[in-house]
């Protein structure tokens, strides 16, 4: 850049730079521009719109965006959507809350005591090896097909990633910080509060993002199998009556829920772990 300003008048700066300035091969993609990630989805919706307007696919298989929008307005007007959405959100939130608390508490107990580790860790690892959804039959036998069963399936699915990631973070706490705690004579309670918990939070948030995704996945399954309300129920009813636009609407709602909950977790994570970004700002 400075070369250009020093080039004598009359000479073309471009050629000067082209000859003199060292160049290197670009190895990384160009820096991202704000909002560029929205471009892909927008293209897909555009393609969808064109495909249905041109009747490339039958409306029974893939109704256009307009039909889905109409279905959205109708379900809003009748109150069906609000009711189903509320049920789904309630299940997801309860399952998530129980799963997160359970996973975090178990991880802290297992991470901080040998006894806790020997009792808890092996069991969670075994639980991890059994696909969560495979437990549904057993849960139905134990808890029936009501809300408790659904919430427990979600909670167990959430618990595992929270536990695994928090536990891993706890186990890898820098020994130097433990030494520091000893030299300033921290009590055990203070050590947990000032060092252990903050040091395990990055792992916890990794687990939380996985857990939130897992909560939605489990929700879809339990609502599709046996439910009388919820977005999953709405989808399976719509399938029975061949209302493809309602199926699509349900999928879009799942997508929006998953996307916005992940974004929310990321915002909270950035707030809580603001000390990590301090160099980037």
């Amino acid at each position: 850049m400075t070369l250009v300003s020093f080039s004598p008048p009359g000479e073309r700066p471009d050629s000067e730079v082209g000859r003199g300035a060292p160049t290197s091969v670009r190895l990384l993609p160009k820096p991202s521009i704000p909002g560029q990630r929205i471009l892909g989805p927008v293209l897909v919706i555009l393609l969808w719109y064109v495909a249905s307007a041109q009747q490339w696919v039958s409306p029974a298989k893939l109704p256009g965006p307009a039909a889905v929008l109409t279905a959205f307005n109708e379900t809003i007007a009748t109150g069906v959507l609000a009711n189903d959405l509320l049920m789904s959100l309630q299940r997801a939130a309860l399952g998530l809350g129980i799963g997160v608390s359970l996973g975090f508490v178990l991880a802290v107990i297992a991470g901080l005591s040998r006894f806790g580790d020997s009792v808890i860790d092996g069991n969670v690892q075994v639980k991890r090896a059994i696909p969560n959804l495979a437990l549904i039959p057993l849960f139905i036998i134990w808890l029936g097909i009501g809300e408790t069963m659904k919430i427990m399936v979600i909670a167990l699915g959430v618990m595992v990633p929270i536990y695994i990631n928090t536990h891993a973070a706890l186990r890898s706490i820098d020994r130097r910080y433990v030494e520091l705690g000893q030299t300033v004579a921290l009590t055990r309670k203070r050590f947990v509060r000032d060092i252990v918990i903050p040091a395990s939070l990055p792992g916890f948030f990794t687990g939380l993002r996985l857990g939130v995704t897992g909560a939605w996945t489990a929700l879809v399954v339990v609502e599709t199998i046996n439910a009388t309300s919820g977005i999953g129920y709405m989808i399976s009813q719509a399938r029975t009556y061949g209302q493809t636009e309602l199926v699509l609407l349900g999928l879009i709602i799942y997508g929006v829920l998953g996307f916005s909950s992940d974004a929310a977790v990321r915002i909270i994570e950035r707030r809580v772990l603001s000390w990590r970004q301090s160099l980037e700002q």
């Binding site: 910080y177 300033v184 000032d194 903050p198």
Partner: protein
């Protein structure tokens, strides 16, 4: 300023003992690192501990700091309960702001006021609420100094605290440490591998060779005389196995 305060202490010849270690033996995996080290440090005395890599200087410091739990060994140690450790890295908790790093583990209600005073002493009062990662290496080590000071230590155990800093920052930190020590008069055990640093800072230089104290010399007068400084430098380097060329 430092030398004046030191002279006062020097006048008190019958000073009380701050640190006493007797017959310190430490083994790692059957390998004896300390072979019965005897060590006394007086109140307010600044002792530098030199030695080659693996000579056991850090092992002594860790033993005095009580950081060698589970290590095989014998011997008796008496150290003040108010002591603090300066590590080679500043060892600040990245998730705590500067002020909270300084008050780490303190209970009394005026800890914060004390921390602010300590930060002022290390000239960091303007970074009180900064995250440690936004500080330079020298600033981080100054926070570590404040964390140490706020505990009013009778003994400071320093394990090469300035060795990771650049040369100019190191000199500034050495001056700051001397200044603080002259004001607060703690006993200091300062582990270093830098001979000039040891002469610049310490009243007394110890060398540990193969797990015993092989050299113990009062060097507090060297700062007034470049010739004596040079003579000690040569002597200590030779003792450490680095013979000096004759000019």
């Amino acid at each position: 300023m430092a030398s004046v305060a030191r002279a006062v202490v020097k006048g008190l010849t019958r000073r009380e003992v701050a640190v006493r270690a007797r017959g310190l033996v430490r083994r790692f995996h059957g390998n004896t690192v300390l072979h019965g080290v005897n060590l006394e440090i007086h109140k307010g005395e600044f002792v530098a501990l030199l030695g080659k890599s693996g000579s056991g200087k850090s092992t002594i410091l860790r033993a005095l700091a009580g950081l060698d739990e589970g290590v095989d060994g014998t011997g008796t140690i008496a150290v003040p309960s108010r002591r603090s450790v300066l590590f080679q890295d500043s060892r600040l908790l990245p998730w705590k702001k500067v002020i909270d790093n300084v008050t780490l583990g303190l209970d009394d209600p005026d800890a914060r006021a004390g921390a602010l005073r300590a930060l002022e002493e290390v000239e960091l009062q303007h970074r009180t609420d900064a995250w440690p990662k936004t500080l330079s290496g020298g600033e981080q080590q100054r926070v570590a100094l404040a964390r140490s000071l706020v505990r009013r230590p009778e003994l400071i155990l320093a394990d090469e605290p300035f060795s990771a800093l650049d040369a100019l920052t190191r000199i500034r930190m050495q001056r700051l440490l001397l200044d603080l020590c002259s004001r607060h008069q703690p006993a200091v055990l300062f582990v270093t591998h830098d001979v000039e640093e040891s002469l610049r800072l310490a009243d007394r230089v110890l060398i540990i060779t193969d797990g015993i104290v092989s050299y113990d010399e009062k060097t507090e007068d060297v700062r007034a005389s470049p010739t004596r400084f040079e003579a000690y430098r040569t002597e200590i380097l030779e003792h450490l196995g680095v013979p000096q060329r004759q000019h």
